[in-house]
Amino acid sequence: MGVEIEQLTKVYDGKVKALDGVQMTAESGVLGLLGPNGSGKTTLMSIMATLLDPSSGTIRVDGLDVRTKKPEIRKRIGYLPQDVGLYPNLTVQETLDYMGLLYHLDDTRDRQDRIERALQRMNLTHLRDRQIQTLSGGMRQRVALAQAVLPQPSVLIVDEPTAGLDPEERIRVRSLFADLARDCLIVLSTHIVADIEAVASSLAVLRFGTLRFFGTPEELLNSLEGRVWMVDAPVGNRPKEMAEGFLETGLFRTREGIQLRGVCETRPCSDAVTADPNLEDGYVWLMAREHHA
């Protein structure tokens, strides 16, 4: 069950190392893949989805090796790439019918039942007769998600699902993942921490193709305990005497002025008070730590 990755390396054209010795295991829930653009997330997802072969190392999806068991793996995964290339002239219903047939759902009644459930789950029922080209980005994303869950996959691979969506659609898509994670392992890549903050059961942070953190979100948060600080200041007058190691992770407006949030090994200034860490703090801290290193 799940995904097992061992010493995975991917080199493009013998030069560009997109992944370097990545190792992790996830069995259920949501595995959040975090990392900046170009960190290797999409490459990792593509290898999981059998679209690319690794240069070395192994990935087993549902216990099956991606090098030798591609057809079998494809029957067990749902894949939602970053950009969805659905046929623009098909309706939502036809698109799901088409995808269902590609998934070998040959029994018409069973296929229609699954389509119906997927439409309801993704709140697409009222859009079933609309052509894909007439849908908004968020609606298309939901259609793409609906097709990915048709086979009731063991592993759902989702690459940057909220890119380009408005805030309302983003929230809707996030809540769908929380719902779907009850049935399968979701591997969800994003560079937006908020996408996985509430739903990830495990977290992998990639940078320059290497794994910088793998564990539960709680482990990351625990490692920041006592290192996250809040500093209040008047508008336009940021505190000048901040400790050198203060790493800013947020800036908020309050009624009195502004509030700076950041990570620091020691109290950054006399007015600073500790705060509960969140994943955003952890992510920025991981990225900056590696950057300084």
């Binding site: 591609k70 894949y79 046929y87 036809e94």
Partner: protein
């Protein structure tokens, strides 16, 4: 059933493309107008439209097929299809069949416009003419679209369409310089090009695509099929080559014998034996004691098509008096003469001069040599003993001129 359903779904989506619809409807309306305005040359018009639309729709289909062939290879958007558990060969063939069905339908709509234009004038014979024209155009479109699709998939690039369209342009523009075998439009090359298209598509789908997707586990049956198709290409080449070689042999061929004759006023008309496309032969010797109107023409000439209709009227009017028109089609594409002979509804025989090397000015063929035809169309009129009494290049006689010509002959030689 699954494949059929997938093809039909893709087909339905393909036909919803507004640009393609517009192309087909525009072509259909144009065809209807042209066909409506050419009642005197209905058969030639159907040939001309079929040839024109085979080219327009064929080139558009090549470009579209190439885009569809590599649509799922886009690293960003294509993953949604490539991650599906569908066999690589199946996927390639599904897309090919869907694209083909869409384009054949669009071509049918376009040529259907021409048929509608004729039917509106009560010309029910046009059903046969346009059906055959559609079949020929669809055959050309299928071959070139398949080559474009398969090569694009093979190279994973639109280069496939570039090659297919370039080859076709060369064939169309350089018809005089290229060997006839390189002409995908010619009916006589059908076997060669059909087997070639299949021989490119099959290994692309069954071997290359499966190999790329890690699905090539039992390559032997696929290799066997590919070997069979390559054998088909070789056989098709040999047959086409022998067909053309027969025409070019130094002596003793029927064509050379025909070409060595020389027409002369007051002498016996050069005899000929031309195939009619139905297994029969069109011969001067078959009409003893008849006044012959031998009309050499090329199928693309609509004015010649009008004269053919006029000749049919002559046959009806003077047939009982022993007047017999004979058509001789000079065309590089053997199918043109056959199509006119079999679908035009004309009541006189039309033979195809298969030795034609050039249908322009001056024409090059055994019949053009024998009849000294420098410009087509060309009319030779004989008396009842088949002695040549009238010759005319660039012959586009009106009904009245034809009547006068025949009445003069009949006055000299009443029954």
């Amino acid at each position: 059933m699954r494949s059929l359903r997938l093809v039909l779904l893709g087909y339905r989506g393909g036909l919803r493309n507004a640009g393609l619809r517009l192309l087909a409807i525009t072509a259909a309306v144009s065809a209807a107008v042209i066909a409506w305005n050419q009642p005197e040359a209905a058969a030639s018009t159907s040939l001309m439209l079929a040839s024109l639309y085979a080219r327009i729709f064929g080139i558009a289909a090549c470009l579209n097929a190439s885009a569809i062939a590599i649509r799922d290879l886009d690293p960003k958007t294509g993953g949604i299809f490539r991650s599906k558990p569908v066999d690589g060969a199946h996927w390639v063939l599904l897309n090919w069949a869907t694209t083909l069905l869409v384009w054949v339908t669009l071509l049918g709509v376009a040529l259907g416009g021409g048929m509608a234009g004729r039917l509106a004038q009560g010309d029910f014979a046009s059903i046969g003419m346009y059906s055959l024209g559609f079949a020929r155009a669809a055959s050309v479109l299928t071959v070139l679209m398949t080559l474009s699709f398969a090569l694009s998939r093979l190279f994973r690039s639109p280069l496939g369409a570039v090659i297919a369209v370039f080859v076709w342009f060369c064939a169309m523009a350089g018809a005089r310089f290229l060997p006839e075998m390189a002409q995908p439009e010619f009916m006589q090359n059908r076997e060669l090009f059909w087997s070639l298209a299949a021989a490119v598509l099959a290994p692309t789908a069954l071997i290359v695509e499966r190999g790329r997707r890690g699905e090539l586990r039992q390559p032997l049956p696929a290799l066997g099929l590919v070997a069979l198709l390559i054998g088909g290409v070789l056989l098709g080449s040999v047959r086409a080559e022998s067909r053309y070689a027969k025409v070019g042999e130094a002596a003793a061929t029927i064509w050379d014998q025909m070409g060595m004759q020389h027409i002369e006023l007051g002498k016996r008309v050069p005899g000929f034996w031309l195939p009619d496309g139905r297994g029969g032969t069109v011969r001067t010797a078959a009409f003893p004691g008849k006044i012959l109107l031998i009309y050499l023409f090329t199928a693309e000439d609509l004015e010649a098509g009008r004269v053919l209709t006029a000749l049919d009227r002559v046959r009806k009017k003077y047939g009982d008096s022993g007047v017999q028109p004979i058509g001789v089609c000079l065309s590089l594409d053997h199918g043109d003469g056959y199509a006119l002979a079999n679908t035009s509804g004309l009541g006189f025989p039309i033979g195809a001069d298969l030795s034609t090397r050039k249908a322009g000015t001056p024409p090059v063929s055994a019949m053009a040599d024998a009849y000294n035809a420098q410009i087509l169309p060309y009319l030779a009129v004989t008396d009842r003993r088949h002695i040549v009494r009238h010759l005319g290049s660039d012959a586009r006689p009106s009904d009245g001129e034809l009547d006068r010509l025949i009445q003069q002959r009949l006055m000299e030689e009443p029954e």
